[in-house]
Amino acid sequence: MANAPILEMREITKRFPGVLALSDVSMTVTRGEIHAICGENGAGKSTLMKVLSGVYPYGTYEGEIIFEGDEVRFSNTKQSENAGIAIIHQELALIPELSITENLFLGNEPGRFGVIDWDYAQSRAAELLDLVGLKEDPDTQIKTLGVGKQQLIEIAKALHKDVKLLILDEPTAALNESESQHLLDLIAGFKKSGMTSIMISHKLNEIEQIADSITIIRDGRTVETLNVATDGVNEDRIIRGMVGRSLENRFPDRTPRIGEKFFEVRDWTVQHPLDPDRLVCKNENFFVRRGEVVGFAGLMGAGRTELAMSVFGRSYGTYLGGTIHKDGREIKVANVHDAISNGIGYVSEDRKVLGLNLLDSIKRATVSAGLGKISSGGVVDALQEYAVAEDYRKRLRIKANSVEDGVGKLSGGNQQKVVLAKWMFTDPDVLILDEPTRGIDVGAKYEIYTIINELAAQGKGVVLISSELPELLGMSDRIYTIFEGQITNVLSAEEANPESLMVSMTSTRKTGPAA
């Protein structure tokens, strides 16, 4: 039974009104392996997992699912859980105000007659935390934990139920490198103890590192299943399967034309909004030249977003000191409105929470930060509004029927393009991009990189904050490293490599930015 499949999905077809989401997708998962599913956004990966876990009940799809040798027909997620299939979604489903223990047993409370057996819960929680390698007091409130730890708690929650097949949907999307590594090690450890895992991820290097086999899905169809041990898999090979062609370059070519230093932040110091004893920016100095793409590298929580948002109209924390200079003059940026009128734009890290009103149409979202430019006397010119939105839709190749479509219905990549359009329309001189390619697929990433290069070619300064070192190295002319709220180093494109960056991203030694 060693290599018997634990799961077979046969010719799964799933239709939504007017759309064929999955077409004859088949997949076989061997017992005890780590099986990766790759595909661009919208290829059907998540739909497939929802079919498997009973989110889409039996009868709403065609095909059959064989789990542990028997055909299963789940009509809800409870049934698939009872069968031993646990799915950990991209969006964490923990309750911030409750403790770790309370979250672990939510919906599955131990005890009798509705009375919870807290003694048992406490000791079991400690065991589970131990399993996932998390050293936290089980009474800790979830909201005090970072995303990485929350992810581990989700896994611990799944482990409490007798899991035979663990499905992870983009588990490392929001994690930094060390947290991601911990998670990957953990999954590898589960494998040793005999558990089977299915992992959906956009991070191909992780898949390469950990997966035993890889199923690639494109446009709702299975393209191929690769065996990592025998097929000689590497990132390029996976990408070729995903996009149906090989991407020669992951980053578009660009000849930098870098002008004079025109934007500078000096001695920037910001206090944490809730904890006055904590400084999130400590005396930071940086500058941007015209036509330059400046990268900001740092681990999660290092203070990159905090720096960017506080510079952008003091949108984060309490301003303590520091000045912003543009074109040789000090500018006053006390709020977002000032920032925009002084030519600063900020594309936020989380487009759904901070970047877009998901109820807007593409048209309304595109003009939402630059209404002043298409209105007179406070009245919006509908013709201009339409023209502007239509122009950006074409230029950025936003895939939609028309600019009247809701942004909530767009894919991640297209939503991100709308956010970019929104900020490009404000015509900023300095555009700060905070994780602009998070959670979007390879093809859309390339398009976003192209847009970034175009902005730089227009003589704008681009600040690129990213957790993906290859992206920073591929795009930036200069890279600042941040550690614990301090800029620790600045490296030119030639000097920078993953090792040199990592050293500066993890050391407290303040080397000071080279002028």
Partner: protein, 439 residues
């Protein structure tokens, strides 16, 4: 068929379709009651009475929907209206203010009340629910303090704004001349705006509806206008279109424009849809929230002043439960409790639905206790219908009528997936709050 349904879609406006299901519901209610009451509902006298009696809901619903779109609410409108009413009545009774000055005083009082409430909501960030719950107690109390808990009569020269009519003039054709002229103006404006909107869409190269759609729309709306003109011009001798109707109508037009065509309007929707994103797009949230609260109280003041004119006195129990009428109208009119969704015209239709319901039931001689029960049931049913449709991905009543073809089919997987029923996945709110202490 597809071209036809496409046309139907355009006819129903595409966005915020659910309000059109309310229009249909409204027509059904009116026709039904008219049949049951043997024509009493659409009797000119009844219609004129209704406008005078219920216009306060229309005026309040305007301000309320704007607040609800922005994610707030105002429970104090009834008390504020009563407070302003007693101030106005007393100013005329005690200080012998002329009516115009008294009205000005009323508006200023409303603005001050709004500034008080707006301060707490916008600057101290106390939830509007709490601030206005307090306001409900405070201003009800102040009304009774100022009026010594008794009714204060208002002079006839003032009452015109509540129970007056457009003055008649010209030869007698058996119809009220000013009403005819008003009807004609509305009709012309309607046709003009429809044609202008059509031209505009052609210039934007946006999807233009077939000509028959425009014609049908003009015929329907024109027909309603002509019918209404007929009703209001054939009332008892001495009546014509009520002054309060003009006040409410003008306010509706102004605020429809403000909410849909101005930067301020956009900011309201932006704050309600995603306040963090709005603030990061340069929306001055404090200013917008403050102005919305002031606006609401000023409209409450107008409603209060109109009401005492109609009642010919300001009493200690004026405006009781008005907040509930206004809020019900807004939600029946398709607004979302989480903010970001709603329209002024939708809320007006919601207000009409509730008003015709009350009026029709009482014309039928049903006990007011039961009227209350039925109104409550209708509110739940209307919103449940709306919620159910949204979770089913069926946006409208129209969708039922043209089942299988009325709705635009999703063209991508992403869309199809979005159309599936989903829970409310609000992002971790406190994370955002921590980020944005300024919002």
């Amino acid at each position: 068929m597809s071209k036809f349904t496409e046309g139907v879609r355009t006819l129903t406006g595409g966005r915020g379709i659910s309000q059109y299901s309310m229009i249909i519901a409204l027509v059904v209610i009116i026709v039904l009651f008219d049949i049951i009451t043997g024509g009493l509902t659409l009797d000119p006298t009844n219609v004129i009475n209704m406008v005078q009696q219920y216009s306060y809901i229309l005026i309040l619903a305007i301000g309320m929907v704007m607040l609800i779109i922005a994610g707030h609410i105002d429970l104090s409108v009834g008390s504020v209206a009563a407070f302003v009413g007693i101030v106005v009545a007393q100013s005329m009774a005690v200080w012998h203010f002329p009516p115009a000055l008294a009205m000005l005083l009323g508006l200023v009082t409303g603005a001050l009340v709004g500034a008080w409430q707006g301060f707490w909501v916008a600057f101290v960030r106390v939830p509007a629910f709490i601030v206005t719950l307090a306001g409900m107690l405070i201003f009800r109390g102040l009304n009774q303090v100022i009026g010594s808990s008794t009714a204060v009569p208002t002079p006839d020269s003032y009452n015109w704004i509540g129970n007056g009519f457009l003055p008649d003039f010209g030869p007698d054709f058996g119809y009220s001349n000013p009403t005819l002229i008003l009807g004609l103006i509305v009709l012309v404006a309607l046709i003009w705006s429809e044609i202008r909107g059509r031209r505009k869409r052609i210039r934007m190269h946006a999807g233009v509806a077939p000509m028959w759609v425009t014609v049908v729309k003009i015929v329907i709306l024109g027909g309603v206008t002509v019918f209404a003109t007929y009703l209001f011009s054939t009332g008892r001798v001495g009546t014509s279109f009520p002054v309060v109707g003009i006040i409410a109508g003008v306010l509706i037009l102004i605020y429809t424009f403000v909410t849909s065509n101005t930067v301020f309007g956009r900011h309201i929707y932006a704050l309600g849809g995603n306040s963090s994103a709005a603030v990061l797009s340069g929306v001055k949230s404090r200013r917008v929230n403050f102005l919305l609260m002031v606006n609401m109280s000023v409209l409450a003041a107008v409603a209060g002043m109109v009401f005492i004119g109609n009642a010919q006195a300001s009493g200690p129990f004026d405006g009781t439960n008005w907040e509930l009428d206004a809020i019900a109208a807004v939600f029946v009119g398709g607004a979302a409790i989480f903010g970001g969704i709603g329209t002024v015209p939708g809320s007006i239709i919601g207000a009409f639905v509730m008003a015709f319901l009350s009026n029709g039931l009482s014309l039928m001689g049903i006990d007011s206790s039961w009227v209350s029960v039925i109104r409550g049931l209708v509110l739940v049913a209307a919103v449940a219908f709306d919620v159910y449709n949204k979770t089913q991905g069926r946006p409208s009543f129209i969708g039922f009528l043209f089942k299988g073809s009325g709705r635009k089919k999703p063209t991508t997987t992403e869309e199809a997936i979005e159309a599936q029923p989903q829970g409310i996945d609000k992002p971790l709110g406190d994370k955002v709050d921590e980020r944005l202490p300024l919002s």
